[in-house]
Symmetry: C2
């Protein structure tokens, strides 16, 4: 009877997002304890979509879901889900269901799953793992967070350099347990150092007698096991890699990273930059009020300090304001325009630093450009505001004061918006995280000081 | 003599970014007209790095570079480079070098290269293309911008459903002209409708007698040729796809999209969101002053209007300010805190909309959460500012006024920061582009009105 709520035709419009009506139907089925209905509704969904569903619903229904259909929370769903919701799930998931779930996964997926859990929950998962699997996971966890060692899969497909195509194919066919995903056969020397790779397409398209060494790909490039995953994702995107071997300090092959994992990292890094630029930290929509409040608090606290600084500048000129209230009315405009222009410059700079497009080679050119852009836009808006000032308050000199202050602040905004992120990067502070506060402080202080200072000198 | 400037050991530290010293050395070589030296320096670099170099150097040296070593600007470099710099290059590149460059490329790369050129330059490239290649490019250009049709490669590897592994491998081996990249053999029915696919790894690991239909992958999913590339990139990331067939309106196979292209799109979409949130539009670091100024102007103009609106609110209370200048000193704090809290909420909302995590199913829960977070942080900062107000100006009632205004504004910020992007999305406006202006207007107006209004009623 409710079946026709969700027809394939209707969901066609936007066929990746989990449909609202599916979520509503699942919630209804959970409320009535109808496990079969939940199963029917989720049957066509990908594990990633089930994970999204569990993220979107509330804590209460989520618990009821697990108690009703524990087996639907399989390994794939668990590894797709966001950290905070996973912690929530693990609190309720019966040991048996958990064991089933994690023993289905490849070791690198189990690593994804447990690496950010607290120690107790991590132990809870490791305890249900089979022996060799557990060893593999523990070894991966011994590599630094966000390193190649955590990202790579340990299953590799290798061949000696001197083999030909026929030998490689026969070897693959005899291999019981090929990795689920692999795109290259890695050629290694006798010391297990990767020296080249052959794409599977090339392997399939070549004569059996062709030597592997003759059909290798130019794109070959290896990563060190302790290398940062962000740098690796960047390299995958920059050089259009599909998979790449990972080596230890002795240049021995220890694993392979594939593009789908690199793509997830690239997406996470961009997400992180966006959220950091807005002072939001690393939260997700599924976090609860307390966590979210705590995450956003520090940035608001920093902003309060900078706002008080700006207010102190204003208070230097309280007599001027008492004498001419128009100054209080107009002063936020100068500060606000500076803040916005500064945010524009700093966002471009932060992003260019992240994509390695802003370097020592072009930093002076970029600074010069940003200052010039600030100057040109400053002059345009100065003329506009000068005219507004004259019309609104009937004082040509007030118009001149706001115009000059506007030019000064927009030039400073362009300068600060570029220099501050570059300097933060040089001294090892994440520019996405810290630039905003500094740049706004500069544009607020300079804006108020220039406008009120000029006004005191010229008008009073 | 300058050779030792750039040793492999020194560049090891950060081996993806183009090294500053390489850029400097190349610039020196260009200045002295030493083409051989340029060649030596660029020899170890990937086309993507040469493209980055040409983006980082100035217009003048870039022109000299092309005149000195036109053959180094090959097809790959041209397709890697950002649009504005490409236009610049095409102005100087000799016809012969251009012809050489583009005829080396696959048709989908030529599409990338020409799709955003102006008509004259587009014609210039099409003119040097060989006949069939040119036809393929023109057909791709007939699909909408940013659609699957533009993104896909037209070369596909197919097999009938009833074949076995041996037949497929023999067919591949006999095939003269396999695509450079392919990861699946697509199974098609007699009407050329794709029905499943087999990964190359699976093909290589199976017995020759195994039927293809028995070793297909669950991840199979097709896209329509007019589908938006952003949605496709999202699906690749969400469902961990490696390649996917593209079909026309009759469900006939017309091409295939691979993950490396999807990864580039995903990266571009995130970049676009970051820049739009900051009101920067689509510029790059290589744009010149005039273009950059023009791109940033509209957002600053919108901000000027909202700032003037806020000023008008202030001017409603000019008598109150004249009576108590402390109001002018403190009012920016309330507005600034609201603006920041609003930006936090809207960034989370915009990003969640982009990743399809914020939907009709959880929008009310998210709004409730944001309002509560605003309330909690509002109360905390209200207490802090109340105390600051009392200490600074010795007036307990002023402390109360700023505290109450702070709570009101932070709650409104949470509400506006979530509701505005959601509504914009519903009415078909890009929330990343427009939310900022609306939310800041709300928090400025509410901030000034609440603080000054309460002050007028209570203090005067």
């Amino acid at each position: 009877m409710v079946e026709d709520e969700v027809t394939s035709e209707e969901t066609r419009e936007d066929d990746y997002a989990l449909d609202d009506r599916v979520v509503t139907s699942v919630l209804m089925a959970i409320a009535t304890g109808d496990g079969d209905r939940v199963r029917t509704l989720l049957e066509p969904l990908h594990a990633a979509d089930i994970a999204d569903l569990l993220e979107q619903i509330d804590h209460g229904p989520r618990r009821d879901f697990i108690l009703l259909v524990p087996d639907l929370v399989d390994g794939e769903v668990l590894s797709e889900i966001t950290d905070s919701v996973r912690e929530d799930l693990l609190d309720f998931l019966p040991r048996e269901a958990l064991s089933q779930a994690v023993n289905d996964l490849d070791s690198d997926d189990v690593v994804d799953l447990v690496e950010y859990l607290d120690e107790e929950q991590q132990q809870q998962v490791l305890d249900v793992l089979a022996g060799p699997e557990r060893l593999a996971v523990e070894q991966a966890l011994s590599y630094p967070e966000e390193s190649a060692g955590r990202l790579m899969q340990r299953e590799v497909v290798i061949a000696p350099e001197h083999w030909n195509v026929g030998q490689a194919i026969d070897h693959l066919r005899a291999h019981e347990d090929l990795p689920e995903q692999f795109y290259h056969v890695i050629l290694v020397d006798p010391r297990l150092k990767p020296v080249a790779y052959v794409s599977l397409g090339r392997l399939l398209g070549s004569r059996r007698e062709a030597r592997l060494a003759e059909i290798t790909e130019d794109s070959f490039r290896t990563f060190r096991v302790d290398q940062d995953e962000g740098d690796i994702a960047y390299a995958f995107n920059q050089y259009h890699l599909i998979s790449a071997p990972v080596v230890d300090d002795n240049d021995r092959l220890v694993g392979v990273i594939t593009i789908d994992d690199a793509m997830i990292v690239l997406d996470e890094e961009a997400e992180e930059d966006i959220l950091r630029l807005a002072g939001v930290g690393e939260g997700t929509l599924s976090d609860r009020v307390v966590e979210t409040t705590r995450r956003r608090f520090p940035w608001l606290a920093v902003n309060l300090v900078t706002a008080i600084l700006a207010s102190m500048v204003i208070s230097l000129f309280d007599e001027a304001i008492a004498g001419l209230v128009a100054l209080a009315v107009l002063m936020p405009i100068v500060a606000s325009m500076g803040g916005n222009a500064g945010t524009q410059s700093l966002t471009v700079a932060v992003r260019a630093i992240a994509t390695k497009d802003l370097t020592g080679a072009n930093v002076w050119r970029v600074i010069r450009r940003e200052v010039l852009v600030g100057l040109v836009n400053g002059v345009i808006f100065a003329v506009v505001m000068g005219v507004v000032g004259v019309i609104w308050f009937g004082s040509p000199m007030l118009g001149v004061v706001i115009a000059v202050a506007m030019v000064i602040n927009l030039v400073v905004a362009g300068l600060a918006g570029t220099v501050i992120p570059v300097v933060l990067e040089r001294i090892g502070v994440d520019p996405a995280l810290a630039s905003g506060a500094f740049v706004t402080t500069v544009t607020d202080v300079v804006g108020f000081f220039a406008f009120l200072g000029l006004a005191s000198v010229i008008l009073l």
